[in-house]
Each structure stands twice: as C-alpha cells, then as structure tokens.
Symmetry: C2
Subunit: 268 residues, 2 copies
Amino acid sequence: MKPLTIIKIGGYIIDNSEHLHQFLLDFVSLPGDKILVHGGGKIATELGESLGVEAKMVDGRRITDIETLRIVTMVYAGLINKNIVAQLQGKGSNAIGLTGADGNIIKAKKRPVVPVDYGFVGDLDENSVSSAMLDNLLKAGLVPVLCAITHDGDTQLLNTNADTIASAVAVAMSALYETQLVYCFEKKGVLKDVNDDSTVVREIREEEFELLKADGIVAGGMIPKLHNAFEAIKKGVLAVYIGKADELSELDKGVFGTKMVRIVMKKI
Amino acid sequence: MKPLTIIKIGGYIIDNSEHLHQFLLDFVSLPGDKILVHGGGKIATELGESLGVEAKMVDGRRITDIETLRIVTMVYAGLINKNIVAQLQGKGSNAIGLTGADGNIIKAKKRPVVPVDYGFVGDLDENSVSSAMLDNLLKAGLVPVLCAITHDGDTQLLNTNADTIASAVAVAMSALYETQLVYCFEKKGVLKDVNDDSTVVREIREEEFELLKADGIVAGGMIPKLHNAFEAIKKGVLAVYIGKADELSELDKGVFGTKMVRIVMKKI
C-alpha cells in the first residue's frame, strides 16, 4: 500500500496569514499522497458578530442554528477553503476543496436533539467516509482539502468537528493506504511540563496513555484528542502525531511532536 | 463521443427556492453527463449591504474590490454552491461543487487595470479550462457544479462571469464530448414579441443573427448572449439553447427555448 498523510489544522494556523503561508509551503513539500482537513478559526465568529447573529452556547458548546450554519458554510466552505486551495495551487499543489457533500465524501447523521439540541451538527460513524471517492481524487493527482461541513445525504448540510473528520477520513483510508494522521495545534506536542516546550513526550504507546492521564501529563482538552488518536490507531491508522505546524518539515523523519503508536515492532 | 450538457443558471433560479428545487429535479432527470454552472443572484448583494460593503460601480458594472471578492467567495463558493450540491445529492445526483481553483479547472487572467480597474475579475481564454480534469470527474461518476469564482494559478482568487465560464467550459469539453450548452434565464427564449411568450423563435442559424438584430428581435442584453452562443458554436459546441428553466424537461426532445445552430444538416 502507498503512504498517505492526513493533516488537520485549526485556528492557530488559519487565523494567521504568516502561519498559514509557512504551513502550506511545508505541506506542499511533504512527500506522498496527502489530504488536508481544516477547521474554522475566528473568522466565522467575527462574521457572525458583524451580522448580528448571536452565538448560542450550551455547556460551553456552540449551537449550530440555521443562521450559524449559513455563516459556517460561507466561511469554512467558501472563504477559508477556497483561499487555501488557491494558495496551494500557487505553490504547485493540485488542491481540490471539498465539503462532505461534494462527491458524497462524508455523509453524517444529524445529532439527536435529546438531551441537547445542538442544531445542524453532523456525527460520523464507520460508514460515513467514501474512501473510494477520495481514492479516485488522489489517483487523479489531486490533493483533497476538506472543511468541517458535511451533509446528511437528504439535502441538509451539517457542521461537523474537524478533528472528527480528520480521524474518520484516516480510519477509512487506512483500508487502502498506509495512513498516518497529523493534528497540528498550538503546542509542540504532549509536554511533560506544559510551560516548557523542550519537554515533548516523543512517543506514547496505548498502554502508557492511562499512566500519563494519572500523572496529569495528559489533561484537559488533550484527553479527548489522544483518546481519538488511539481509537484511530485501533481501527487501522499506522500512527497519529500531534504537534506544532512549524515543525512539519520534520515529519518525514518521524520526529514530529508526539507520536502515538499502538504496537512498537522492532527488528532485532 | 458521448453527449454532455452544460447548463447555466442565474439569479432567477438561485434567488427563489421553489424555482431552484424544481430546476434541480429537472436537472437530475436529464440523461447523460452534465455540468452545472451557477451565478450569484441577489444574496451576495444583500450580504454586502448587511456588512456595510458598498457596491462600487463603473459604467453600470460592479468593481470587485478585495472586500467584494471575500463576499462573493463566501456566497458563490460557499453558501450557494454547497446548498446546490447538498440538494443534488439528496435528489440522487453525485454532485461536486467547484471553483476554478479546485483541481485548477479554470485558470483565468486578472483583467488589465487599463482603461478601467475592475479589481479582482478574471478573464478566460482558450487555454483556461482543464477539460482533462473535468473529464476525470465525469468519468468518476460526478456531476461538476461550477460557481463564478476562478483563480490566476498564483494564489489569487478571481470573480468571473458565469455566462463566460459556461461558454468556455462548453467549448473546451467539445473536444471530448458532443457538447450542448443551455442558458437558463427569465424568458422562454428569443421572442418575436418581447411581451408574448408564445412568440419564441425556435431556431436561429448564425446567418440569421444579423437579420434578427436589424429587425430589433434580438436587442439589448440578448445581443452579447447570442454573440457568445455563436462563438461557442464556431468553436465546436453542437448547439446552444437559451430559455426558461421550467421547460428544461423538454430539452431532451430538442424543443427547449431558442436553439442556436451553426449548420443545419438534413438528410434527404
């Protein structure tokens, strides 16, 4: 099987044109087949404020009402996605920007309204991603750029977490490719000391995950991220990395951020 | 060669959800390979007004400044394009929504700033459209849905007239397919009496175009439309139709609106 790298970027890169420019240069330089997944960043919030659409929150989570769905469709699928595509094209990468509705690449299920109605939010399951269609695009020499919008297959667009999309795409593609998944965020990886960038934990095996949680080294928002990472690995992804985009050029040497692996096989 | 139909829709359909729903049903029912091209309608203007972005006009034509480009990218490539794609998916058509930047399908040239600086507007030439990439997508069973945004190949998105995109795509694809081009607008076709829908001119050959202009039957905004139509025919498109979308189901019988043809070959 050929190698495939799926990279997810969020607001830290999207909201800063210099970060984005440098990231896209490094992304283009990465060898092999690639898929980019991006979230939304601040732009959707700012557009909502400009239009007087109030962010509705429940337990710290945003509700995607119909007005918010319009805004994220404009910002994620339009403004951010197409600017990334145009920039990748200018850097020599034949990018194609997509929502999950395009080519029916990601069919989600609208989240049940009980106990909390999150509105037009789509959840994914093991049948959501069309690996065959993504494979078609990769074989046509294209670099898919996926935004955090999916659909239900019955005319409704849905807002879907970009981390979840990246993970579901990596799992689905692992049937066809030797797949690695990379989450870029604002830190250099899982840090032993959260205030010291030099304390990156280079590798975490699944059996160490619980120990790191008990020690408080993996805490807060890192817990679901790492939980998702190990879920992806269980389902066929070779390795999941989490780290800072400005070190992406090191990925090819396998020394990017924190690497999560299931089984370490060593030839003796 | 296989038949291919390229259909362009504008504000008359996009701005009215009932018109759009019915059009998409008819579009899905059309046999053979298809490409849809859509313009923008009123939504971009309304969003611009909501955001306090003033429309700048020169000689009745809109200037695409950087703020306007952001708005049309959000509305055309995001909101309108992805809603059309989700609706087509729900109606059983495997649509894929694209700008010209995606897959480098349409590479435009920024319009020269002399004598008038129209801003971020892209013009097309005979090398702009990648018929090979569109052919790839069609062969993958996809229905391309193109919006009126292109790029210059050097990181810049550009605003490009949707009629022009439809015509350029039809011409480029005519090397690979038996291509017909359909312009949907608010009238039933070229009318002998502009106030009487029953006076549709069913067929216009190129040599009749000048006569119809002299008679005033083709006047105003119809002149450039028909001029473009005959240009497309000269460059390989088999036929160009102009008519009202609600009669699209008749297209397959060749009796939609006004048909423009170059040479009428009749077997005796």
